[in-house]
């Protein structure tokens, strides 16, 4: 999806050349405050993140904040959940049973009404404009928590359509912290070694290649050689874990439980990635922009999400992984209470919801509420900056004490005008 945000010019970006120039110092760069301590802590706890992105805008009224029997409520009912007092849409029957692992935020009030601005703004946490492009949450976590010892890239994005390495997510952190996208959930192109080649032959040719590179760089600038080595190493790591991408080894029961639809398949792949130790796994689902025929649209999409999401929560809990995994499900905005002439709902950043759970999050919490018609937030409004503070806290990172170091420029990791939603923190 091509997006051209208004204000991310090239002078705001840390250039790749600068990154290449800085790889010698990699690891230590772009983090001012004791990165080693954070990384060590994280490793000890094995903190991970599952980030489910419903691109185009999940309708809060057909999900976490139903308003049945009101002018804008639509045709769906509300149902009780495993937490007394919390009701959600009947389109989420499975998630309702997992509610005791989750928390809801019903007081989101963000600013951008367009996809192009909203997606970027939300995922970058809307920091104050300092003339730099901030990293997406995934790249931020990849930087702050590191890749652990899984040997896999720290940030994997399971998404529909095309895949590949997406350096742009990383903003000023530099391309290294970009996302490895698995297009249509599939392994990157050319992941598998040809069957005619033995592992030994493969090793030999790569040793020869490394030797050629080493000799080339002997009396030259070494940046390019190092960047080349980095991508070849990543290729080798992925190849070692190619079992992760082999869907035929997935249990048929799981495939059934998560659903054979796209988000079901992708969520199951995401579970594998989390089990393999990937720090940040993002699952994207497209097609949520229901300007027309909202009730059939959300009516068919929400149950698919519900099936996959609830299966994931249940599995993470059973495996003890919710203890160290932060789970978030959200969009770039909600949908208008007003139902338009095409029986659709349009973009609504004024009052919408998200679900989260897992490590650091208070089970069964509900933050904020909307007014009776669901048109506006009736309690304190919360912008994305508050959520970034909350999530970092949940991961054991103190946004007040941790900052990025962008080539000498100290930058806060979350908007300094915002603070965490303490009522959602465990």
């Amino acid at each position: 999806m091509a997006r051209s945000p208004l204000c991310t010019p090239r002078d705001h970006l840390l250039s790749r050349r600068q990154w290449l120039g800085a790889t010698a110092l990699a690891g230590a760069s772009a983090l001012a405050v004791n990165p080693l301590t954070i990384a060590a802590e994280a490793k000890k706890k094995g903190k991970q993140v599952l980030f489910v992105w419903l691109d185009g805008g999940l309708s809060q009224l057909e999900s976490w904040d139903p308003k049945p029997n009101t002018p804008f409520g639509g045709p769906f009912r509300a149902i009780p959940t495993s937490v007394p007092g919390i009701h959600i849409s009947e389109l989420l029957p499975n998630s309702a049973k997992q509610m005791h692992h989750l928390a809801l935020v019903r007081s989101l009030c963000t600013q951008d009404n367009s996809h192009s601005a909203g997606v970027e703004r939300i995922q970058r946490g809307d920091p104050k404009n300092r003339g730099v492009t901030y990293p997406y949450f995934g790249s931020a976590v990849a930087k702050l928590l590191g890749s652990g010892d899984s040997g896999l890239p720290p940030y994997i994005h399971v998404k529909p359509l095309s895949g590949g390495f997406m350096p742009k997510d990383a903003g000023f952190l530099g391309p290294k912290f970009g996302a490895l996208a698995l297009g249509d959930g599939k392994a990157p192109d050319n992941l598998l070694r040809p069957e005619t080649m033995t592992a030994e032959e493969d090793n030999e040719r790569n040793e020869l290649r490394n030797l050629v590179d080493q000799r080339y760089a002997e009396n030259r600038r070494t940046n390019t050689m190092e960047a080349t080595r980095y991508v070849f190493n990543m290729a080798a790591q992925l190849q070692k874990r190619r079992d992760l991408f082999d869907i035929s080894t997935y249990s048929p029961k799981d495939v059934e439980r998560y659903g054979k639809h796209e988000i079901g398949r992708h969520m199951l792949i995401a579970r594998r990635m989390l089990e393999a130790g990937v720090t940040f796994v993002k699952v994207s689902s497209f097609g949520w922009d229901t300007h027309g025929d909202n009730f059939n649209g959300q009516g068919s999409l929400v149950p698919q999400f519900d099936q996959a999401f609830a299966a994931m929560i249940s599995d993470l809990h059973e495996r003890g992984m919710l203890e160290h995994t932060l789970v978030i499900a959200m969009s770039e905005f909600g949908r208008t209470p007003r139902i338009n002439g095409h029986l659709g709902r349009d973009h609504w950043p004024e009052a919408w919801s998200l679900a989260m759970g897992g490590t650091g999050i208070k089970k069964g919490a509900v933050v904020g509420k909307t007014n009776d018609k669901g048109t506006f937030v009736a309690t304190d409004e919360h912008d994305i900056g508050h959520l970034f503070h909350t999530w970092f806290r949940a991961l054991g990172i103190d946004p007040k004490k941790t900052e990025y170091d962008n080539e000498g420029q100290p930058l806060p990791i979350a908007h300094e005008g915002c603070k965490p939603l303490t009522e959602a923190l465990a």
């Binding site: 091509a2 290449l20 590949g164 350096p167 032959e201 000799r215 030259r220 290729a235």
Partner: protein, 519 residues
Amino acid sequence: MPRHLVLTLLLAFPAAPFAAEPLSARIDQLISAKASNAKFSNLSDNAEFLRRIYLDLAGRIPARDETARFLADASPTKRSKLIDDLLNGPDFPTRMSEQFHVMFMERLGDHADWSAYLLESFKKNKPWNQIAKEILRADGSNPETKGSSFFMSKRLEHYGQQTVDYSALTRDIGRLFLGKDLRCAECHDHLFIEEYKQKDFKGLFAFVQNAFLNDEKTAVVGEKPMPGKVPFMSVFKKIPKETGPGLPGGKELEVVVFKKGEEYAKAPDPKAKSPGQLKFSPLTLLSEQVPSKESPDFARNITNRIWFLLLGRGIVHPLDLHHAGNPPSHPELLALLADEFVAHGYDIKWLITEITRSQTYQRSGKLPEGVAKAEPQLFVTSLEKRLSAEQLIASFQTALNVKADPAAKTKIMKAYANAPREPEDEISPMLKGALFLLNDPLVLGWLAPQPGNVVDQLSKKPEGELADEVYLTVLSRKPTDAERQTVNAYVKKHEAKKAEAVSRLVWALLASTEFGINH
């Protein structure tokens, strides 16, 4: 020339110090003057120069025999002769048309007429001001220049519910023709760059806001009559303003509004898919205003971009941020290049000749003794340059003596090209490229020993020649003793399956950093 002498000359004759000398020498003098105490790298050796100049001017590595011939040539003028030969050779127009395609279309798409137009233009060595004029006029009705409209027509397409992105078109004209990225000045004066004003963005926008895509297939662009000035308002200070078309920092042009029904010199003809011709045509104005001597940004931008293509870094860098806060590394040099380029009739070939003849271009990429880090903006050590997918295709073909069919070319493009709108102006090794080399059957198939192919021929060479032949063929140089030893030992280890071992050796060289970039 010793540096202190240059400095003395500079001090002694500050006004017109080197009027009679060729531009290439003046380039070196200005680079030396700025370098101050920085150590220079040696001049490149012949093999280093040969590979670099082939990639830059022919878009491919030299073939094994071309390398051997050049290395054996004892003539002291062989470098300038090679430069002239390549500039007048069959590969130069192809190379330039591909590079300009990459730079100006930024992988947005391809069109056969556009490729043909660029190729023809470089075959004729058309002056840059003429090419730019034709591209910006985007006139599909003239059969001579019809492909030129693709720059504009592609950017006037729209997808699904998305409207035509006129802001992006405006931005691209500013960036690519004038070296100014006005993106942040669309909604307000630029917050950090003093001279990028919202009026500059809107003035440029006014030229193109009424253009439309008349026919996608033929890339014909039309214009609706301009109703008047473009109104705008800063998102910070809500004061209504308006502007007619104008270049950034330049004069605002008058908008001539004709009565309804009288706007056209030639009426549109929907049957013939002709958009007609307006009496007041902003695109015509744009095509006259941008490539003119009154627009200093125009010559500075293209000379800086050609310098970047050959030297690996712009004198102004990034290429699209010409402004006072981002000054040129060598202000006099950029001014000199731009002035001389204009004086020589915007002759790209001439400019390339002068730059490539300079010692600055011909310097080695190896660091001077005792130097760990050379400042890139001083140009004291040659910089590495990215190879485009097109250069890689041509170089694979040359090294392996194969012909890539269209499917093979598409594969290589996919593995090495950037996503649309991402300028390919930096070296950035990518995972997809590594996986392509490691596992894709295409290159591995070319490398599998088969009777008569390169690997087969190489593996039949006697031990004394094998390493030299492998290196000459792939890396366009002779190996060092240590490299000879590595090759011989490896082949010896696999004596029973020598051809397969040679195949892996050739692969290792093809997949190396040294092959994958221009250094």
